[in-house]
């Protein structure tokens, strides 16, 4: 199971694909509203084709780039990482956990993307009226003509490359065989949700779906974080006993009794592929041999996540971070408020704020 389905990879693909399909759906909806098949069917058809062309072109480019990167990685990296020493597994787990934590929060606010993109499209059309310099005018005229191509193209490219980088980061320690199914499922699920949004499905149940997905994502990240610490400790233990302690199986000697919080001589996620315990491990970070470090880090991770979400909610409510004096809206700075996830989400909400202001302007 673990070897054929990488849960983090699924969520990354799901998230990126969802974002892309929301944008595409917004574009299509926009075209339908403004032009509509009944008003100007020729131009409408042409523009719709442009959108899909943009999607396909973007997808093609990022598949090529992604395939190249993954190919290069496994070509060069297999030897380096084939015998994934515990230390590498730990580093990869840590990187994956941080990536998931940062992008996870954005999934909950993904419905806001629709607003964001309506603004972007409106901007693109509005700018027609603006006077451009001579040098820029030819490019901007071209860009405007093909806006319905460029927007989805760049979006797909951006999200796709983001996905490639994230998958690369998350998947460093995973076997190559665990990718394809997870990627396909992620893309499929993302496209399906995007389609539902386009069709104007039940927004509430969609939100519930997103919440559940995000919760899973954080469970995975918490497990990865704890596992990373566990691997660092396993590495230290291997050094002490002078060999791969896992070689002695799951019994006595495979773990450091001094660090042990619990140990059961079964249910190891690392032996013989792990079976069901491997799934349990990748979803929730289960260890048959829990250490002080792995238990503490698991709880600590949740503490940080809880605090971060509370702070984000506080920020949404009051416009400033807890224990920070309220500043003029729009002049907020990032990067001072500690945690990585907070910083990132702050940046996003900051952007949204500006955009929603723009939306109001347009609606006037």
């Amino acid at each position: 199971m673990v070897n054929v389905f990488a849960v983090p990879v699924f969520f990354i693909c799901f998230r990126e694909c969802l974002e892309t399909s929301i944008i595409v759906s917004v574009l299509l909806a926009f075209l339908k509203q403004t032009l509509g098949p009944e008003r100007d069917p020729v131009i409408y058809k042409k523009l719709v084709r442009q959108v899909w062309l943009g999607v396909v072109a973007g997808l093609a480019v990022c598949i090529i780039i992604g395939a190249g990167m993954i190919g290069a990685f496994y070509g060069i990296g297999t030897d380096t990482f084939a015998k994934t020493e515990a230390i590498w597994e730990g580093v990869f787990g840590l990187v994956a956990s941080i990536i998931i934590s940062i992008m996870g929060a954005a999934l909950l606010r993904i419905s806001k993307l629709q607003d964001k993109w309506r603004v972007k499209i409106a901007q693109a059309i509005e700018s027609k009226d603006k006077v451009e310099g001579v040098a820029g005018s030819r490019f901007s005229r071209w860009a405007k003509k093909y806006a319905m191509f460029l927007l989805p193209f760049i979006t797909v490219l951006r999200e796709g490359l983001e996905a490639v980088v994230f998958i690369g980061g998350v998947g460093l320690g995973l076997p190559a065989s665990s990718f394809p199914l997870a990627v396909l499922c992620g893309l499929g699920a993302g496209a399906l949700i995007g389609y539902l949004i386009y069709k104007g499905g039940n927004a509430a149940s969609l939100q519930i779906f997103l919440i559940i997905s995000t919760c899973f994502l954080y469970l995975v990240a918490a497990g990865l974080f704890s596992k990373a610490v566990w691997f660092f400790e396993a590495n230290a233990w291997n050094k002490i006993v002078g060999g791969d302690a896992a070689e002695v199986g799951a019994g006595a000697g495979s773990y450091d009794i001094r660090q042990s919080v619990w140990h059961v001589n079964c249910c190891s996620p690392n032996l013989n592929g792990g079976g069901g315990w491997g799934v349990f491990n990748s979803l929730f970070g289960w260890q048959n041999s829990a250490t002080l470090g792995s238990v503490l880090s698991y709880n600590l991770y949740w503490l940080v996540v809880i605090v971060a979400f509370l702070a984000m909610r506080y920020n949404e409510q009051t416009g400033h971070w807890p224990f920070v004096k309220a500043k003029n809206p729009g002049s907020e700075t990032s990067s001072q408020q500690g945690g990585v996830s907070e910083t990132c989400v702050e940046g996003k909400s900051h952007g949204d704020e500006v955009l929603s202001a723009n939306v109001r302007e347009i609606h006037k």
Partner: protein, 586 residues
């Protein structure tokens, strides 16, 4: 070389001759045990335990019927010590057997102690420290009892003693600390740095063509078992562990730690070349063979010292002689009516401190506070109750003259040499490798081999029988010194009431206890009032916690709680509408 060799080439004919015409003599040795420096493998100078400022230590020689007195003074300064005379029955003198905390108190630094016993058994023996893991530091030497009535005395011209030793560059105290440690959970035994013949390497033994020599070979190793062969010569085994055997031809022997073989070798009739003899340590015993380890040690039978010493030929397969086929020369038949059968299931496992220990029937040996002999002497009629000796001495009380059978099932993939103090035993059965536990349907030899140290094969079993005709406290243990330290030891308490009647402990033995603040009365815990109250006795570490302890359950509950709480916060955040602040700003 020549000097050290001369120690071992004492013309034994002289002894044989004198033995014939003199009455039983008293042989006295004064041993001042102290640290000296030595470099036997030419690779590393280290402190070793010497006697009277010398190392290698002297050979104890006596003649059957002699009284041997060894006056030991411990001048080590930092370690207690004791001497065990390996293979001697010590009939009537169990208190002279030597294991510290069993038949005596360890001799503390500065104290003196006298061993005084009769030797009635001819043959090849050795003496060594029997205090925690000490003898590989150098306190080990041959002990030869000559026999004026040897059935083979006319068949050889000269005797040559060959001792085999494995050699560590590090001190035993350091090695033991690393061995029994949380950082060695698999119980991997330290691997020696080199092998030695007669406490050195590359020995030359001058021989004369056509003569027959009796090589008395002693494996004094801490751990290693060598394959031994003489190029161009055949051995005739005539004695094992002090028991004369019918002559048996052998090209190659396998000697476990503490085993002895006397072999007759007739020299070739021409002097055209010299011949190598080799001891090659069995690498199966080593968990990991370190790179660059030379597991061989070579010596030469030198017919002509102007000729070259040939490099031994490469041997690609070891096919040693099977000692189970030996027949004792006295023809003693199998003890077939067993009065008391003891089964030992041995295994290696980890205890709660994370270190690896060895077990007989789930008990790992821990030395008692009161030496077991003194407990037997001071507990009156309770001395027949094994409980007074403490759980961790793994004591069995034997009735006098019972035929005792020990069935040993080796649930470990290693080879182990088992030794019984105070007795020679019949090897009634020995299984092949991987035979599993003993099942009672085997054919036993009519005249089984007897010896005092026997190999049990990996995951195999052995059946040993002996008559309990020697009152005393006798250890039964694996003679791999690492496994003695990790507890592969049981105690035979043989006819304790008989001991109470007949045994008188010399004052200097008690003085050693007083010098070391060791109690000499009562049960294993030193309790003289309630003999069955063993609170305070030395015990092994607790077993490894199995599965979830309170700590584990609390940790798991907390982890689940924080995960639920985290998920709840995420859900709450996700379900919340966009905040006022953001709406307000738009």
């Amino acid at each position: 070389m020549a000097i050290s060799l001369s120690n071992f080439l004492i013309p034994s004919i002289l002894f044989l001759a004198t033995g014939l015409f003199t009455e039983a003599a008293t042989v006295t040795y004064d041993f001042d045990v102290s640290w000296v420096h030595a470099n036997p493998d030419g690779a590393f100078v280290r402190p070793v335990i010497g006697i009277n400022g010398q190392w290698p230590i002297p050979t104890i020689t006596a003649t059957k019927g002699d009284r041997v007195i060894v006056n030991v003074k411990n001048s080590l300064g930092n370690e207690t010590t004791s001497l065990h005379f390996h293979g001697l029955f010590q009939n009537g003198t169990t208190h002279m057997d030597g294991p510290a905390s069993v038949t005596q108190c360890g001799i503390p630094p500065g104290s003196s102690f006298t061993y005084d016993f009769m030797v009635e058994q001819p043959g090849t023996y050795w003496y060594h420290s029997h205090t925690r893991g000490q003898y590989p530091d150098g306190l080990r030497g041959p002990l030869i009892i000559h026999d004026p009535d040897s059935p083979y005395k006319d068949q050889y011209d000269e005797e040559i003693i060959l001792t085999f030793e494995d050699w560590y560059h590090d001190m035993m105290n350091n090695l033991l600390a690393k061995f029994i440690s949380v950082s060695n959970p698999t119980g991997a035994e330290p691997v020696p740095q080199s092998a030695l013949w007669n406490s050195t390497q590359n020995i030359s033994i001058p021989v004369q063509p056509g003569k027959t020599y009796m090589f008395r070979m002693v494996n004094m190793a801490a751990f290693s078992a060598p394959y031994v062969w003489f190029e161009g010569h055949t051995m005739r085994v005539v004695e094992v562990d002090g028991i004369y055997t019918e002559p048996a031809e052998a090209n190659m022997l396998y000697m476990t730690a503490a085993q002895r073989y006397s072999v007759l070798i007739t020299m070739n009739n021409d002097t055209s070349s010299n011949f190598a003899f080799v001891a090659s340590m069995d690498q199966d015993l080593f968990d990991q063979v370190p790179e660059g380890l030379n597991s061989n040690v070579t010596g030469w039978l030198v017919y002509d010292n102007t000729k070259e010493l040939p490099t031994p030929a490469f041997v690609d397969e070891f096919d040693p002689f099977d000692d189970y086929t030996l027949v004792p020369q006295d023809g003693m038949s199998l003890l077939d009516e067993v009065d008391y059968s003891i089964t030992f299931d041995m295994k290696m496992d980890n205890l709660g401190d994370g270190a690896n220990y060895a077990f007989f029937n789930d008990i790992t040996y821990v030395r008692p506070k009161v030496p077991t002999l003194y407990t037997a002497l001071t507990t009156g009629s309770s001395a027949t109750n094994p409980a007074v000796y403490g759980v961790n001495t793994n004591s069995f009380v034997l009735n006098k003259n019972d035929v005792v059978e020990i069935i040993l099932n080796n649930d470990d993939p290693g080879k182990h040499p088992f030794h019984l103090h105070g007795h020679e035993f019949q090897v009634a059965f020995r299984s092949d490798e991987e035979a599993g536990a003993y099942v009672n349907n085997v054919t036993m030899p009519q005249v089984p081999m007897r010896r005092d140290t026997v190999l049990v094969r990996p995951n195999g079993n052995i059946v040993l029988r002996f008559r309990a005709n020697n009152p005393g406290i006798w250890l039964f243990h694996c003679h791999i010194e690492w496994h003695v330290a990790s507890g592969l030891v049981a105690t035979m308490v043989e006819a304790p009431l008989d001991l109470q009647q007949n045994l008188k402990i010399p004052e200097d033995h008690y003085q050693a206890c007083r010098d070391g603040n060791i109690p000499i009365e009562g049960n294993a815990a030193g309790n003289t009032v309630d003999l069955l109250d063993l609170r305070g006795a030395n015990v092994s570490p607790d077993p490894l916690p199995a599965g979830f302890t309170t700590k584990g359950i609390v940790a798991l509950v907390f982890s689940c709680l924080s995960a639920f709480l985290g998920v709840a916060v995420i859900a709450w955040y996700g379900a919340a509408p966009i905040g006022k602040a953001q709406k307000g700003s738009s």
